[in-house]
């Protein structure tokens, strides 16, 4: 069994406190992870400047090249992970076994992470609006208009409290390395695999090991990362996001409430967009913040809901190794039963109808895990509670709402795909502060263009644009 030890600025630490990572279906241990407490994190963060200093020994261009090598290693090589050598297939098996994600989804998340690293130069070019990366390294430089620009690093390291069940989110912290900012990561207890393998790939590619801290542990370790690093990101519930709202030190990622809005000008042709809607709801087992949880239109909503239900309602549980598996397991069965109970409450409201009712029981309980099969719900008005719900399985509410009310009623929306050619709707969607990423036209909510910032620009988070004036010193008279 593989043992994953904490990494303290590149040095493995022998912990006395281990937790087992177990197979979601059998309960068998598949790895043991050494934990640390907040005290160790706190002590290491006192030396965080050394992580940045180690990265500053390399030019940003050099680090970009090493990221590209790391991408190849991450996606294809046998790497030393913990006390073992890990092949790609082993990584996929292990990640699937602990998170409950089907293996093909693990591979797809792996490809996504690798893609971001492979294209990190273009991504940084877009995030920085084309600035020379040496400006970030030196803190200032000439942009090309005869004016000095300055970007001051706000932190030597980026902290991150990573999620348990979403291997796709790791793309968000990867750009820190070529920006010469170290990483202090608390891996999710069921998904330590990506951070460990990614850090191994970075080190193998020649990025200094001193730039990396991996701190598995409980809330104590996570809390220390959040309080001891000047910039950190956390992944959690809506409550977690609310808790950190307005805190410039923390970027909180939670439910996305991503939606597709169908304009009156195209809604009569809704069938043209059925595949887009199905993909947006079903991809990655509906677990991502970029999965669509609401489809809003002024008419045909019942037909739209029925058509989606027809497509995803029959989806059933398949073994995780099956390439056709579409559903991820809830590794904590109580989460599935709790979610199921909440959905039942939603359905009890007048005007709400389960369009997948004919496709069998939704809650599938196993000894060590549980599943929720896809659900499509029709809501006859945005007033229904279900119109603002998001759950961790393929679940969507199709909401009947007049077009002129949509943007006022949708609420927070991470990805908003707007199907329309109506210039007014496009203009209003573009100016809606409720929508973070806006897609105009037939783009599934789950398809992100990595050359665009996601939930805030990492550059703005890690660096501060400020004035930096330089004048020549007068030559002393006696010189």
């Amino acid at each position: 069994m593989i043992t994953l030890s904490p990494l303290r600025w590149g040095k493995p630490y022998e912990s006395l406190d281990f937790t087992d990572v177990v197979h979601f279906d059998t309960g068998e241990p598949i790895a043991r992870v050494g934990n640390v407490g907040g005290g160790i994190v706190g002590r290491d963060m006192r030396k965080a400047h050394k992580a940045r200093e180690a990265l500053l020994q390399f030019s940003p261009e050099d680090l970009v090249e090493r990221c590209k090598q790391a991408a190849v290693l991450f996606e294809s090589a046998d790497l030393t992970v913990g006390d073992s050598t890990q092949s790609v297939d082993q990584f996929v098996h292990q990640q699937s076994a602990s998170t409950g994600l089907p293996e093909h989804m693990c591979r797809s998340n792996m490809a996504k992470n690798s893609f971001v690293l492979s294209n990190i130069d273009q991504i940084l070019d877009c995030l920085t609006r084309g600035l020379d990366l040496s400006i970030f390294s030196r803190g200032y430089g000439e942009e090309g208009r005869g004016v000095i620009v300055s970007y001051q690093s706000q932190t030597p390291v980026l902290g991150a409290v990573l999620p348990n069940n979403s291997p796709g989110v790791h793309t968000l912290w990867l750009p820190a390395i070529p920006l010469q900012v170290g990483l202090a990561l608390k891996p999710g207890s069921q998904e330590p695999w990506t951070p460990y393998r990614m850090v191994s790939a970075f080190i193998e590619a020649g990025v200094p090991a001193e730039a990396f801290g991996l701190y598995p542990g409980g809330h104590d370790a996570g809390g220390a990362i959040m309080t001891k690093t000047p910039r950190s990101m956390i992944f959690g519930s809506a409550q977690t996001v609310a808790q950190h709202e307005g805190n410039p030190r923390v970027q909180a990622h939670g439910p996305g409430f991503s939606k597709v809005l169908i304009g009156d000008d195209v809604v009569d042709d809704w069938e043209n967009y059925l595949d887009l809607l199905v993909e947006s709801v079903l991809s990655n087992s509906g677990r991502s913040c970029i999965n669509c949880s609401g489809i809003w239109a002024s008419r045909h909503t019942r037909e739209i809901a029925a058509a989606i239900a027809e497509k995803i309602g029959p989806v059933d549980v398949l073994p995780p190794s099956d390439p056709n598996a579409q559903l991820a397991a809830f590794t904590v069965p109580a989460m599935a039963t709790g979610t199921h109970a909440m959905v039942q409450q939603d359905l009890a409201e007048h005007g709400v109808e389960d369009m997948t009712a004919d496709f069998g029981e939704k809650l599938v309980e196993r000894e060590h895990c549980a599943y929720l099969r896809p659900m499509v719900v029709h809501a006859d008005s945005p007033d229904r509670q279900v119109a603002s719900k998001e759950y961790m399985f393929p679940f969507v509410s199709v909401v009947e709402c007049p077009q002129d009310q949509m943007l006022k009623r949708i609420g927070s929306t991470l990805v908003g795909t707007v199907l329309t050619q109506d210039p007014d709707l496009i203009r209003h969607a573009g100016s809606s502060v409720d929508i973070d990423r806006v897609n105009i036209g037939p783009i599934p909510t789950n398809r992100l263009n990595w050359l665009q910032p996601h939930e805030g620009n990492l550059i703005d988070f890690l660096y501060r644009s400020r004035a930096y004036q330089v004048a020549d010193m007068p030559v002393a008279a006696h010189a």
């Binding site: 006395l16 406190d17 407490g37 706190g42 809390g223 309080t227």
Partner: protein
């Protein structure tokens, strides 16, 4: 480790047998005290009427305490608090100590001198070279209606020193956690640590201290921020407890906070386990060679810990096996004939210093763990 690995020498077995005899005698004495009309507390005299046996005639040994129903700490909520004072102590000055109480009515325990006695006995276990007599102390733990605060002060006085204390309201800490006000929590922690640093750097010759693990960690960090350390400010001995204590934390503490193992010049630190109901259990000396394993031994016969089966709280588990911690308190001030603690651990064998059962690996009882807020200060 199997039960077979927990063999004890003949000498220890003999000591254990003698300790057991003393416990049986002590049990009889305490039962008679608490259930006699002249000396017993109103609570237990009233409870006696509900029992289907007569404690005065039917309890002949420690094992007979199993005839009592388990002690329910809910009984300690609300008044009148005098019902807990044994008539034999009716005219003595009495303290009331509280536990819990973040919301609702806290649990109260009355004490006359138990906290003094417990800590005087504990004092005998402290090595003089690390806890010098006459040295001043710092109590870095909860203040307010807490037994710990007065007990540590008494310990310092008993050893000829003076105890400095800080203001720390653990109920507010729990509220901050429940509200998710983590910035406030951090600031409150700083506020507490600032008080401690002020005391330690004000020339008071403080050499010994009590601290909870989290506060000790924060204090070490704060001193380091100021370019100094626990050693440099003169601390030579620490006893720690009050919240969950793990071998990993102890390793971190010894290796990174206290300047290394004590035999290499580091600050001496000993873990303790206890609560307002029982008092204080001492730890077997901790060593790196033993992977910083922490084994606690209750101050028998005044208090007893057992490790019992999860499905039968009257049956002890084998040595080395895991079970739930069961506490007994048998003093002339307080009688607890078996209380199911919210912890679990492994049963440890007697040894020379403590020839009776101990418990190691103490952690929140797995069935209650998710509902418990541990280590709040």
């Amino acid at each position: 480790m199997s039960t077979a690995d927990y063999t004890v020498s003949e000498e220890v077995a003999q000591q254990a047998s003698e300790a057991r005899e003393r416990l049986d005698e002590h049990t009889l004495k305490m039962v008679h005290w608490h259930f006699s009309e002249e000396t017993g507390s109103p609570f237990w005299l009233e409870k006696k009427a509900e029992l289907n046996f007569d404690p005065l005639t039917d309890v002949k040994s420690f094992d007979d305490l199993k005839k009592f129903p388990h002690f329910e700490d809910e009984w300690l909520r609300g008044g009148p608090v005098r019902r807990w004072v044994p008539k034999g102590h009716a005219n003595k000055p009495t303290y009331v100590f509280e536990t819990g109480g973040t919301t609702g009515i806290p649990k109260s325990r009355v004490v006359v001198e138990d906290h003094w006695t417990d800590y005087e006995l504990f004092s005998d276990t402290l090595p003089e070279e690390h806890f010098p007599k006459g040295a001043n102390w710092l109590m870095l733990g909860p203040s307010g209606p807490r037994r710990l605060r007065l007990a540590v002060e008494h310990l310092a006085q008993h050893r000829g020193g003076i105890c400095f204390c800080i203001d720390l309201d653990p109920r507010w800490v729990v509220k901050l956690i429940k509200k998710g006000w983590m910035d406030h929590l951090e600031e409150y922690k700083k506020h507490c640590i600032d008080q401690a640093v002020t005391v330690l750097t004000a020339g008071h010759d403080v050499k010994c201290m009590f601290a909870t693990p989290k506060l000790l960690e924060s204090l070490g960090e704060a001193l380091e921020d100021r370019g100094t350390s626990l050693q440099e400010v003169g601390i030579t001995g620490i006893f720690s407890g009050g919240t969950e204590f793990t071998p990993q934390w102890t390793k971190f503490c010894v290796e990174e906070l206290l300047g290394g193992p004590v035999e290499e010049g580091g600050v001496y630190m000993t873990p303790t386990y206890g609560n307002t109901l029982m008092g204080l259990a001492c730890s077997k000396p901790i060593t790196a060679a033993d992977n910083y394993k922490i084994s606690y031994y209750a101050p028998q016969p005044r208090a007893v810990t057992e490790v019992v089966q999860f499905d039968d709280y009257d049956q002890k588990v084998g040595y080395g096996e895991t079970g739930r911690v069961k506490l007994y308190t048998l003093t002339d001030e307080f009688f607890v004939p078996g209380f199911m603690e919210r912890d679990e651990g492994e049963r440890e064998a007697p040894f020379e210093t403590y020839p009776w059962d101990g418990v190691s690996g103490v952690r929140p009882f797995h069935e209650l763990a998710s509902a418990t807020t541990v280590g709040v200060y």
